[in-house]
């Protein structure tokens, strides 16, 4: 290895190599397909789910019921609340019950309003990326509770969707022992497709680095196909539906 070269220089060289390789690589594909390279978007008549599926929709009550049963069947917990105050009370009770010492939450106005810092006097509540000097992954890893707002949820598969940003760490929904995800009821859709359409419509530039669909607690069936909960991700997941 040429250590004199800076890493940046090396990346630039690799990039140049990759671009020249790309032409050969893709040309090879066109040749194998026995036609000139396709450079215009081809017509894709089978894009996405079948029409009958795109018309499929449940009403709010049904979405809540289906989400709940799907999430519970895989070992998740679901609670239903009318107001955010109820959510605060629930999290505070659970924190007390489990003697929680560390909580990490996303840096979002809805979560500021919960006032967990005031309601959980026994615990140290950290707010993701609120101080650039902190090692935030470690703060998440030590946390007993991670508290996030769901960006979307899908009832049909029992999934919560979280998008990353400066204020929304990927670690917060991944590293703590318990995950608390708050789902405002209007964000709960029927199908995955109702969520994915936003990513297609917004396009590349609108997408965050991490989009995660979470459908219950971490699990594995790798030992004798025997279900184990909580292998690497949170073993306890609460979906708190509000509104």
């Amino acid at each position: 290895m040429d250590t004199a070269k800076t890493h940046q220089q090396w990346l630039i060289e690799m990039e140049a190599e990759s671009r020249s390789k790309q032409t050969r690589f893709i040309n090879g594909i066109s040749t194998k397909l026995r036609r000139p390279m396709v450079t215009e978007p081809p017509r894709h008549p089978y894009r996405g789910a079948p029409d009958f599926w795109n018309a499929y929709e449940w009403n709010e009550q049904e979405r809540i019921e289906r989400f709940t049963s799907n999430f519970r069947i895989v070992g998740g917990h679901v609670e239903r609340f009318t107001t955010m105050d109820d959510v605060t009370r629930f999290i505070a009770e659970k924190a007390k019950e489990l003697s929680v010492k560390y909580v990490i939450r996303q840096n979002q106005p809805e979560l500021d309003a919960l006032n967990l810092e005031g309601e959980l006097p026994e615990a140290q509540v950290s707010v993701w990326n609120s101080d650039p000097g902190q090692y935030w992954k470690a703060r998440s890893a030590e946390a007993d509770f991670g508290v996030v707002m769901a960006d979307y949820a899908a009832a049909y598969t029992g999934s919560i969707t979280v998008l990353s940003s400066k204020d929304k760490g990927r670690s917060v929904s991944l590293l703590p022992t318990v995950l608390m995800a708050i789902i405002p009821v209007e964000r709960l859709k029927t199908r995955l497709g109702e969520i994915m359409v936003h990513f297609d419509e917004g396009g590349r530039e609108s997408l965050p680095a991490g989009i995660h669909f979470i459908s219950g607690p971490s699990r594995s069936a790798d030992i004798e196909n025997d279900l184990t909960i909580g292998v690497h991700g949170p073993g306890v997941v609460y979906a708190l539906i509000v509104g």
């Binding site: 990759s18 450079t39 089978y46 999934s159 680095a209 989009i211 025997d226």
Partner: protein
């Protein structure tokens, strides 16, 4: 560590299969789990409904993407670069390994945490990393176990399908330096604690790629444990190895794949985690990799492009449903196939990726052509037909078995004329007198050895059907009923419809 073929050391599929079949535990373990997965899949697809329409949609999306792979791959690469990803191309396994090692060296990496990736198995990447002093750590629970055992995965989805909890407890106890109880929770708990620190220390996170979305340059991972999220969230550098055919056009298409893949693989509505990663962390983000590389690997895949008999192989979404459905896989397990990919998909993919005609035959013969793989496949790949095409190519290229070739030539000679067939039956009836007892043949010699080790062979009756036809025909002509008019009408209508291009279907057409 992962260079070999597990612990089945036979030279041919038949030898390895024999070893596997004498391993009572292996047979039971594989049977138990594949049946459970198969049952789960059927339940999930039934519950979802309209499964045939979903399969067809999945197939069409894959067909379309592969037919325009140049366009979509270019688009993916351009978008991934715009997202800040360093994209690389590798024609061969060696090239992919070289690029991976260069990055690891540049990063002065000591450890690499890996989430499950069949492509890295294909490249024997762990072995290569070790050779330059980098410690590769498999973090999927099953893969971790297999790595400790010094073996390779024997199933695409359940890598340690061939091991029981006692064997696993022994392996993990040795790793832990203390006795661990053979309890799934205890064992998984140990691996969780052990790997937590590894994730936080690792220099590089390495992943495979389930799908790559051309229109946004995103890569998508399906998993249940959370280790793939760890690998793509915690380390500073991410390397993703991606087969060049993993592309789908859009997120809308991902909905279809997300409907097909988990249901077919494990019977889940969706895996616990489905992550779409679009580039390295943004400057203001506090987690996610600083630097992200995607290595696009050919390694024999382009051999199928433009080959009408095999191009559909590239549609495979690596769900493992064909393994779970396959009665042969169930009896011999994954290692008997002797390649990275096992089961029906492995029997076709391994030779197809390698272009090695001489090795084709043995693997392609390990199938009764029952078509269960095709029926289970969520994108309808006709694997049972492909196995026949492989056999044919071998014969055409002169690598056929000499005795079999002579036999087939004789078969064709006999069967090309009914009079010859009749003669052979006559000879058979005379010949069987030597070996038949009470209308049965039980001797275990010559070609009957394998067959009669499990069965009793019936003898030829005195008269074949053609011998008795004259008498039978005369009998039925006497007193033949008049056909009911509605029956006659039905038959005439069918013949008429047929002339219009109707007819009736078979398999995939």
């Amino acid at each position: 560590m992962s260079g070999g073929h597990g612990h089945s050391d036979g030279a041919t599929v038949k030898e390895r299969a024999d070893l596997a079949m004498n391993n009572e535990f292996l047979r039971k373990a594989v049977k138990f789990t594949t049946e459970r997965l198969k049952g789960g899949k059927l339940k999930a697809t039934d519950e979802h409904g309209n499964w045939e329409e979903w399969r067809e949609r999945g197939r069409q999306i894959r067909l379309h993407t592969i037919a325009h792979l140049d366009y979509y791959l270019n688009r993916f690469v351009d978008n991934a670069r715009a997202n800040g990803v360093h994209v690389h191309f590798a024609d061969t396994a060696e090239e992919a390994v070289h690029i991976s090692l260069s990055i690891a060296e540049r990063k002065q990496a000591k450890t690499v945490v890996k989430s499950k990736s069949m492509v890295t198995e294909e490249l024997h990447l762990n072995h290569a990393l070790e050779s330059i002093g980098v410690d590769p750590i498999e973090t999927d629970l099953g893969e971790y176990i297999i790595q400790l055992a010094g073996e390779t995965p024997s199933h695409i989805i359940i890598p340690a399908i061939h091991k029981n909890r006692y064997q696993i407890a022994d392996l993990l106890s040795e790793d832990a330096g203390e006795k661990l109880e053979p309890d799934t929770q205890v064992l998984a708990g140990y691996v969780r604690r052990k790997l937590r620190t590894k994730f936080l220390e690792a220099d590089i996170g390495m992943t495979g790629c389930n799908f790559a979305i051309a229109e946004t340059g995103s890569m998508v991972l399906f998993e249940n444990e959370g280790n793939a999220r760890m690998v793509t969230t915690v380390p500073k550098t991410q390397i993703t190895l991606m087969g060049m055919e993993r592309i789908i056009p859009s997120w809308a298409d991902l909905e279809v794949m997300a409907t097909l893949l988990p249901r077919s693989a494990t019977g889940q509505k969706l895996t616990v985690y489905m992550s779409g990663i679009t580039g390295p962390r943004r400057a203001e983000d506090a987690d996610g990799p600083d630097e992200m590389h995607i290595i696009i690997v050919d390694n024999g895949r382009s051999l199928q492009l433009g080959d009408p008999e095999f191009q559909e192989l590239l549609n495979c979404i690596r769900c493992g449903a064909c393994l779970n459905a396959c009665p042969v896989y169930r009896h011999i397990g994954g290692h008997a196939y002797g390649g990275t990919y096992s089961g029906p998909i492995g029997a076709v993919l391994t030779p197809s990726l390698q272009k090695n005609v001489a090795e084709w035959d043995d693997i392609a013969n390990a199938s009764s052509l029952c078509g269960a793989c095709y029926e289970a496949c969520p994108v309808k790949i006709p694997l049972h037909d492909m196995l026949i095409y492989l056999r044919r190519r071998k014969v055409e290229q002169g690598h056929g078995d000499k005795i079999e070739a002579a036999g087939m030539k004789g078969f064709a000679t006999v069967m090309s004329k009914s009079s010859r067939f009749k003669t052979v039956l006559k000879i058979g009836k005379l010949g069987q007198k030597l070996v038949a007892r009470k209308g049965e043949i039980r001797i275990k010699v010559g070609p009957l050895k394998g067959w009669n080790s499990y069965r009793v062979t019936p003898t030829l009756p005195k008269k074949s059907f053609r011998d008795g036809w004259g008498t039978l025909e005369a009998e039925i002509r006497n007193g033949l009923q008049e056909m009911a008019p509605e029956m006659k009408n039905r038959m005439e209508q069918i013949v008429k419809d047929r002339a219009k291009g109707g007819g009736h279907g078979y398999g995939h057409g």
